[in-house]
Every structure is written in C-alpha cells, then in structure tokens.
C-alpha cells in the first residue's frame, strides 16, 4: 500500500489520486466526528472506483455508510444532515447520476441559506467521478460540471493532481457551503507527491502549472495534464505555452487568467465537457469582456468535447474529447494565427 510508503522530506509521499482522496477522507473523519461518508457501495465494496477502499473497516458502518440506489434521496439526506450539524460527504457513483439529484442540489442545497435570509448553512460535499475514457458509453461518461458552475450558492472544484485532490477535498469539507468535487475517473490511478499532514488548497484559485510566454492554455481536470504534456512537445518546437489549471469552476479565478493572457496575448481553453455551454464559454467570455481583450493577438480558441454523447467504441470515444495531440495542434495553429 503506497499509503504506508516512506515519506520524503516534509512528509511528502507519492500517492495515487484515489489514495489522496481516501487520505483526505480519513483525516477529516479522524479530526471531526461530524464528518461521514455515504453513498452506493462505498462500504464493503470500497467504492465503485476503489476510492473509499478500507475506510469502512477503519471507521465502521456508522461513518462509512452503504446506501440504497436513491440519488435524489441521498442528496437530500446530505442537505438535512448538513443543516443540523453534520459534515456529510456524499459519493454519487458516477456524476451522470447527479441528473437524478439536481432538485436537492440546486433547489435546496444551493438556495437554503439565501432563502432563509442567511440564517442557515449547508456544509455538504458531493464527490462526483466524471469523464470519459473508460468505455462506459454515453450514460456513464459525461462531464456535467459546467451546469453547477451556473448555480449561485454552490462551489465547484475539479482537482487534476493527487495533491489537489487531497487539498481541495479537505477545503471542501471545511467549507460552510455545499461544494461539488468533480473527480476524473482516468485520474484515480495517476500518482504524485502528497504531504502526509492535512492541508487545504484554496477553493477559487487557479494555479499556473507551467509558465510560458506565447500562449495561455486554461485547462480543467485531466486536460491540465494533457495540456502540460502537449506543452513539452510544443516547447521543442519553440512554442512556450503557459498552462493554467483552473481547479475551481465556481468561483472562477479571473485574475490569474487575465494576468496570464495579458502576458501571452493568446488564449485557448481546453476542457472535456461538450464545447457548447461548457466551461470554456465562461472563460472565453470573461476574457472577452475584460479590457485585456483589446490586447489579444488572435481570437480566443475553445477546445472542448464534441457536440455528441460519448460513444462506446474506443476510437470514437477518444475522438469525442481533446487528446494531447489535439491540444498541441490547436495551440500551434493559434500561435501561428496570432503571428499573422
């Protein structure tokens, strides 16, 4: 178990994204009796993607709770528990099934504080495994995070590294507001350095993964990794891309994006959700309505998912969302265009 792997200086080990999430859950439950995890198959089974793993055995059936298949009811249960002093963490087995829980998330969790005139808080966390690439087809592969970014009262994060998976989840559990954490299924096995001590990453802050001069690539979730990989290829071609990992979709860190664009004068947004009305629309719009827009050397580019449900066939499935080569090609042509 890498969880037991020896820590390097400052207690940093290499963990997988799934392990980092599990560690965050364990530390939150250890520190605070109000925290509990519930959802379909999070107990003995260890979670559909193995995220909860042994937590059931470590914390018992009262704090790691297997539930019936009742997504609307579960989301409501999170609201009720949060409203009365608990800190529930709900796993919705695939983010696609949040379509069943929208009422409670959007009409209740997001609005209760406001509707009650500020007299209540709903400190709940919903974890949502999302994204394509597993061959699970159209009803198990969606990236619906943009919907939630449209809902005042919610916060929405999308960690792309094990480090952020832990830090953002701990911040989400601390947050007095409902926070949705979109985890990418293909990231669960990716590895990276994770401090052993509990720490929080601020919700609402983007991070520059790679500084660059020629073009700003704002990317979310797994696309931040693909963009970083594409940047290495591009660097060999003399194109110096700055990679901004958005991390938080609500609130959005406009300042970091604008500062980067002011420097590079070119913007491309890369995300897995359907291009139309995806998060790229909001990023593009924020830049287009900012004075920095006057300094752009080229039109903004959005590289999002195809205007299609996710297909089953693996070749089609890959074609439906941006891949590393697509990002490199899009950046290349943007930089060339800007140079025209």
């Amino acid at each position: 178990m890498p969880l037991d792997a020896p820590a390097t200086e400052a207690g940093v080990r290499t963990l997988s994204y799934a392990e980092a999430i599990r560690e965050a859950l364990a530390q939150a439950m250890e520190a605070d009796p109000r925290v509990f995890l519930f959802g379909e198959d999070v107990g003995v089974y260890g979670g559909a993607f193995g995220v909860s793993g042994d937590l059931f055995h470590r914390f018992g059936a009262d704090r790691v709770i297997d539930t019936p298949i009742s997504e609307l009811g579960l989301a409501g249960a999170a609201v009720g528990a949060a409203l009365t002093g608990m800190r529930p963490v709900l796993e919705i087995q695939f983010s696609d099934f949040a379509t069943l829980a929208m009422e409670q998330i959007v009409n209740q969790a997001a609005k209760i504080r406001f509707m009650f005139g500020g007299k209540a808080t709903v400190p709940m966390v919903v974890r949502l495994p999302a994204g394509s690439g597993t061959g699970a087809a159209a009803q198990h592969s969606q990236s619906l995070e943009a919907w939630f970014a449209h809902v005042p009262g919610l916060k929405v994060v999308q960690p792309s590294t094990p480090h952020d998976a832990k830090g953002l989840l701990l911040a989400a559990i601390d947050d007095p507001n409902p926070v949705l954490v979109f985890e990418h299924k293909l990231l669960y096995r990716t590895k990276g350095p994770v401090p052993i001590e509990p720490y929080r990453e601020p919700i609402g802050k983007a991070v520059v993964r790679r500084p660059g001069r020629d073009v700003t690539v704002v990317a979310t979730s797994i696309m931040a990794l693909r963009a970083a990989a594409a940047a290495e290829t591009l660097a060999q071609e003399g194109i110096d891309a700055e990679i901004v990992d958005l991390r938080s979709l609500r609130p959005i860190d406009t300042d970091t994006i604008v500062a980067s664009v002011a420097k590079t004068k070119r913007l491309i947004v890369v995300y897995e959700g359907v291009k139309t009305m995806g998060i790229g629309a909001e990023i593009a719009a924020r830049v287009a309505e900012h004075p920095v827009m006057r300094t752009l050397a080229a039109p903004i580019v959005r590289l999002g998912g195809a205007d299609s449900p996710i297909p089953y066939n693996p070749v089609l499935e890959k074609a439906a969302v941006p891949q590393e080569a697509d990002i490199a090609a899009a950046v290349r042509s943007l930089v060339q265009e800007g140079a025209r």
Partner: protein, 335 residues
C-alpha cells in the same frame, strides 16, 4: 350512549389525554393560524403582498395536533402550505407576516416569502416550494439526530400529491432501513392542486403505502385535533424510543383554493360546504364546551387574543423596513 354520564366520563380518550392548558394553547394556535391566513389573504387582496400564497384554512387541526407533543428542539420540515406548521411550532407571527411583506424583519429578511419561512430557533427547518422536497431532507435530519445521539425527532409534512413523487419512496425506504426518528406526516386534503387524490393514486389512503416500507401506517381524521394529537404522540414516541419512522396520514380539506390563482373548476360547492361543516376549529370548540373543558367565555377570549396578536403583527410587518437592494448577494454564501 346514555347522556346522563358526567362530561368527564364521556370524554373519548384522545380528548381526556389533553389537559385544559394544553387544549387552550392548542385552540389558541389554531385561531392564530386561521387569523394569520385571513389577514394574509386580505393583505394580498389589497395588493400589499406580492406573489402567491397557499392557505391552509380548514387544516389547522392537523398542523396543531401533529406538533402538539413535539418539543421545541424537535425538528419539523414543512411545505408550500406551511403557515400552520410554522405557527404550531412556535414561530413569531409578526416576523412571519413581515416576511410576507418582504421586509428585513421577516424570518428570511424578505428573501424567502411565504413558501420558504424557516425558524431555526424553534426547530423549523423550513417550508419548501418543491412538492416532496422536504422528505429527503428529513432523512438527513434523522441520520444527524442518530449520529449525534440526540433524543430528538424530525416530523416532515407533505401532501397527498407529494406521495406520488419519487422522493417520497426513496425517503420512506431509507428512513425505514435505518430506523430513523422520523414522523412522516401526510396532510391528505384530497387534492394535489386540481388533481383528485382518487385519480392520482390507486389506493384509498396514503398510509396504505406504509407496508411497502415495513413501517406502521396510520390514518386519522385530520380535522379532529385530539385524534391527530393522539396518533402523533404515538408516532413521536416510537421515533424517540428508537423504533423508527411512522407514516401518519391526516385526512383533511383545504377550504380555500390551491393558491391565489385557483378558479376552483375541479370541485363542487357542495363538497366544499360539506367540509366547511366539519371545520376543525368550530368542532373542537363545540366539543370543549360540551365536555366543560373550556367555557364559551374562555374561548371567545382566546379568539380575541389571537386576533389582537395578528393585528399587532400586521402593524409590525407594515412598519418594518424593506431590505436594501445593495445587499442582494450578501447571503448567497456563508463565509
């Protein structure tokens, strides 16, 4: 029944179980609710109140009876037709009316209006604009009570129409498997908006669905305050002692339209008149007098006192300050 028995002897157990002070207080709350809604309605007619509202006139016994044996720190979750529950749980009618008037002094600082009044201090976790929206929340409240090992109960109100939402099913199932301290309180007023309950479901009573969750299901005359209180006491006791949830159905009737836009095309005057004759307030008063529990003078004083309180509330609501539009987004997030 021989009528030479003393009134105390002839009292049915549900009535006998309630002492005079409790009865007086229950009656007072029924009057407060009735008067509150009459005044709300008048204010609406005069254009002083905005939006819509759902009156529960005719359903006061169910609200007051159900809540009578709850403690202050027990929780309730209410519905779009929730003024009665709110008042029965002990809310301040002045702050309620101020909310109707959209004022800063209202329970929700004018942000929520009639459909979203909550009063956390009295355990009222809020009315709800979504039919059956409170039911899943109740499950979480039940989980929370259990996890914190509190001796509390959560009572969640909903209508006959709500019993056909998926949320009803998921919530009763979870409450049952986890033996949560919840009372599912269905106010079956025969219609979901214009939909006759007999057309909306194929069983005669909502409580007939309780066996699907291996849960006790009880149907009572919802216009009979002592009967409602007795049935609720049993369900509350069951919840409090760890024996899990109950589905308790109060058969009642709303004497007003569904909301302010209802033209009443779906029910007959005869039907409404029939239920008017079973008005829960008049009925309770008659029984109390009959059995010498409260005399006519005391009853008149209670009614007058309720009217006075609502009158004062109206003044408070009218004279309260409006919210500041610059603070529109202040409470979207907690800091």
């Amino acid at each position: 029944m021989p009528n030479d028995l003393s009134s105390a002897v002839s009292q049915r157990p549900a009535l006998a179980a309630l002492d005079d002070a409790t009865l007086a207080s229950a009656l007072r709350r029924m009057h407060l609710i009735r008067r509150f809604e009459e005044v709300a309605e008048q204010s609406y007619m005069r254009g002083l109140v905005h939006g819509t509202m759902h009156l529960s006139i005719g359903q006061e016994a169910s609200a007051v009876g159900a809540i009578l044996h709850l403690a202050r720190d027990d929780y309730i979750l209410s519905t779009h037709r929730g003024h009665g529950h709110c008042i029965a749980k002990g809310a301040d009618v002045a702050r309620m009316l101020a909310e109707f008037f959209g004022k800063e002094t209202g329970y929700c600082r004018g942000r929520g209006g009639s459909m979203h009044i909550a009063d956390l201090d009295t355990g009222n976790l809020g009315a709800n604009g979504i039919v059956a929206g409170g039911l899943p929340i109740a499950v979480g409240v039940g989980m929370s009570i259990k996890a914190q090992k509190l001796p509390r109960v959560c009572m969640v109100f909903f209508g006959d129409g709500a019993a056909n939402e998926g949320a009803f099913h998921e919530s009763l199932n979870m409450a049952s498997i986890w033996a949560l301290p919840i009372v599912f309180l269905c106010e079956n007023n025969q219609y979901g908006m214009s939909m006759d309950v007999a057309k909306a479901m194929a069983v005669a009573n909502v409580a007939d669905r309780a066996p699907a969750y291996a849960m006790p299901g009880v149907t009572v005359d919802g216009n009979d305050l002592p009967a409602v209180a007795a049935a609720a006491a049993e369900a509350i006791g069951r919840a409090r002692s760890g024996d899990g949830p109950t589905l308790l159905e109060c058969k009642t009737y709303r004497l007003r339209g569904h909301s302010k836009s209802d033209r009443n095309l779906y029910r007959t005057k005869d039907e409404i008149d029939g239920w008017r004759a079973r008005d829960p307030i008049a009925r309770l008063e008659t029984e109390l007098v009959e059995h010498g529990r409260l005399d006519a003078g005391r009853i008149a004083a209670i009614r007058a006192d309720a009217e006075r309180e609502i009158g004062a509330a109206l003044e408070f609501a009218k004279s309260s300050p409006a919210p500041d539009p610059d603070q529109l987004t202040r409470d979207v997030y907690a800091a």
